[in-house]
């Protein structure tokens, strides 16, 4: 067997394994000289950026960065010149003008025999990751915004309802007093005037309530055909972390198949999150050995609707409070607002759907949601 000497460090350009690695890597690799000029690029760089190797060599690497990234990179130079290692997110501009977001690792390579110092840039395309992150952030913002809107809408609706009761009585009392007073010839006009003002103001109060309600509930909600199984999976993903932290076991049983419902998926997610949070909070209050949460979807027997259920093995809900659960401000929690279920019910109403507690009693809770299916052609 021939004994070969160990290959010299990566600087030996002719070294085969290094070259193969260099050219097949699915990462952008730039070799730069001390002045940040491009000495070599790998095949991936030319494939992705659209520049031939010859077009790049000799140019400063920052010529291919966006202005912000140029500034960022220059700020790293002192560190690299001292032989350090840096990481940064850089925007790389392709020949077509398209911008790629890359995660850039810059490593200074000390001078080797016969060669001057250089910098090795290895960059990974994270555009897709960035887009996904952006989407997730946007989704979260939208969801939080909707949540605030629903809380406000729910409070406005319930306040309107509560205030309209005394106003009904007030307007009726005033009306009666007025008509009786007008029947008395000797009644002083000033008294009639005063009562008329009171009557008018009561009406004004009711108009204001009406306006507030309308302006809050205006948020017109866009609906689209939604694959509920997918929505449930998304929600499960969102909860991944919370489930792990509370050590609750999640079971998914998704049998919705090809059926679609006409819905605003963010709102449906909100309903599911409300139910699941309640379940996690309920499980947290008990001493069950293993908390379990089950999310199920199925098509109803008549094929016309989809039923989603959320079950837990928490303490359950006793019959007497079961009737009032869906009313606003009904809560048994110190920090609860009692809005979760009431908002959920409003959302379901706006979807021509229903939500109900499956079987009140101890030993776990199941809430079900029914949404009408879209007719399949």
């Amino acid at each position: 067997m021939n004994e070969h000497p160990l290959p010299a460090p990566a600087s030996s350009e002719g070294d085969l394994p290094f070259r193969i690695l260099f050219d097949t890597a699915a990462e952008f690799i730039f070799v730069l000289d001390q002045d940040s000029r491009i000495v070599r690029t790998n095949r991936y760089v030319s494939e992705q950026s659209g520049y031939a190797p010859g077009e790049m060599e000799g140019k400063e690497v920052t010529d291919f960065f966006t202005p912000t990234s140029q500034t960022l990179y220059r700020s790293l130079l002192p560190l690299l010149q001292r032989g350090g290692h840096a990481r940064a997110e850089i925007e790389l501009v392709c020949k077509s003008g398209h911008v790629l977001e890359v995660e850039c690792q810059a490593t200074a390579v000390a001078p080797q025999a016969g060669q001057s110092a250089s910098v090795l840039l290895i960059q990974r395309d994270i555009s897709a990751l960035k887009r996904a992150e952006e989407k997730a952030r946007h989704h979260q913002q939208e969801s939080a915004h909707l949540m605030r809107l629903s809380v406000m809408g729910e409070m406005a609706a319930s306040m309107a309802h509560e205030l309209n009761q005394p106003l009904t009585a007030l307007i009726s009392y005033c009306g009666m007093a007025l008509s009786q007073l007008k029947g008395i010839a000797s009644a002083p006009d000033s008294l009639v005037d005063i009562l008329e003002c009171a009557y008018e103001q009561a009406h004004r109060a009711s108009d204001i309530i009406h306006q507030i309600r309308n302006s809050v509930s205006k948020g017109n909600i866009r609906k689209q055909p939604v694959d509920i199984d997918n929505t449930v999976r998304e929600v499960a993903k969102l909860l991944d972390w919370e489930l792990a932290a509370s050590q609750v076991e999640l079971q998914l049983d998704l049998q919705g198949g090809a059926s679609r419902v006409m819905a605003n998926s963010v709102q449906i997610e909100q309903v599911l999150l409300n139910l699941i949070r309640n379940s996690l909070e309920a499980i947290g209050q008990t001493q069950v050995a293993q908390g379990r949460l089950q999310l199920q979807t199925r098509v109803a027997e008549d094929g016309r609707s989809l039923v989603i259920s959320v079950s837990d093995n928490g303490p359950g809900i006793s019959g007497e409070i079961a009737n009032r659960l869906f009313e606003p401000f009904q809560t048994s929690k110190e920090t609860g607002m009692g809005m979760g279920l009431s908002i959920s019910r409003s959302i379901l109403q706006a979807h021509q759907g229903t939500i109900w507690l499956d079987q009140p009693g101890p030993g776990g809770t199941t809430f079900c949601i029914r949404l009408p299916c879209l007719e399949t052609a």
Partner: protein, 216 residues
């Protein structure tokens, strides 16, 4: 108006009930009030007449549920819904299920009163119609079998002569049948008799143009 009909007032808000009761009594309606759908169900006479003023959202059984329960037990009180929570879907459901009106709280006394008057008026008309129909049916049943047969022919436009031939009797006999039928049914003309026949279902349709609808 002679005897005023009873108003059943169901609302879980004490002040609303008190105010509306005062008002309706001041307009001479007998009022029975209930603070829940359940308490009305427990005490109402199945043959009760009058009108129900019903709150839509209440603790426990809702107005819509009560409406369904009453319908199922065949209690036919007209219903006016009042609600502090104007929801289009609910109002559609209520009206579809036969409610006569749906009023949003708060409202003017006179708005409620108007609605009550209209509902009672409508109810009276329907009751009168039912009574007239029952009476007509009774009159028809008092005809002899032969007279009933003759009546079916003549309201269909068969001439006396033709009918005499068909039944193998003299025209004179048919004349006699005919005038007996008219007087027993209390009809003053042939068109009137045709209308009666139509309304109690002796015949299904009438194709001759000379029938002008009459309500007598």
């Amino acid at each position: 108006m002679s005897k005023r009909e009873t108003l059943y007032l169901v609302d879980d808000n004490d002040a609303v009930r008190h105010a509306l009761r005062l008002f309706l009594e001041s307009r001479n309606f007998p009022v029975q009030e209930f603070s829940s759908a359940e308490s009305l169900l427990a005490s109402i006479d199945p043959r009760a007449t009058g009108l129900l003023v019903l709150d839509l959202c209440m603790q426990g059984m809702s107005g819509l549920e009560l409406q369904a329960k009453l319908k199922a037990s065949d209690i036919q009180l007209p219903i006016i819904f009042i609600t502090g929570h104007g929801n289009v879907q609910d109002s559609v459901n209520a009206l579809k299920a036969g409610a006569v009106d749906f009023i949003e709280k708060p409202f003017d006394n006179e708005v409620l009163l108007d609605s009550i008057r209209r509902a009672l008026q409508q109810e009276r008309q329907q009751r009168e119609q039912r009574r007239v129909l029952q009476e007509l049916t009774r009159k028809f049943e008092r005809l002899t079998p032969r007279e009933r047969e003759v009546m079916k022919y003549i309201v269909n436009g068969t001439s006396n002569k033709h009918l005499a031939e068909l039944l193998g009797v003299s025209s004179r006999t048919i004349e006699v049948h005919r005038s007996r039928i008219m007087s027993k049914m209390g009809a003053r003309s042939l068109p009137e008799l045709v209308c009666m026949a139509l309304s109690i279902g002796v015949i299904r349709t009438w194709s001759k143009p000379q029938c002008t609808p009459c309500t007598a």
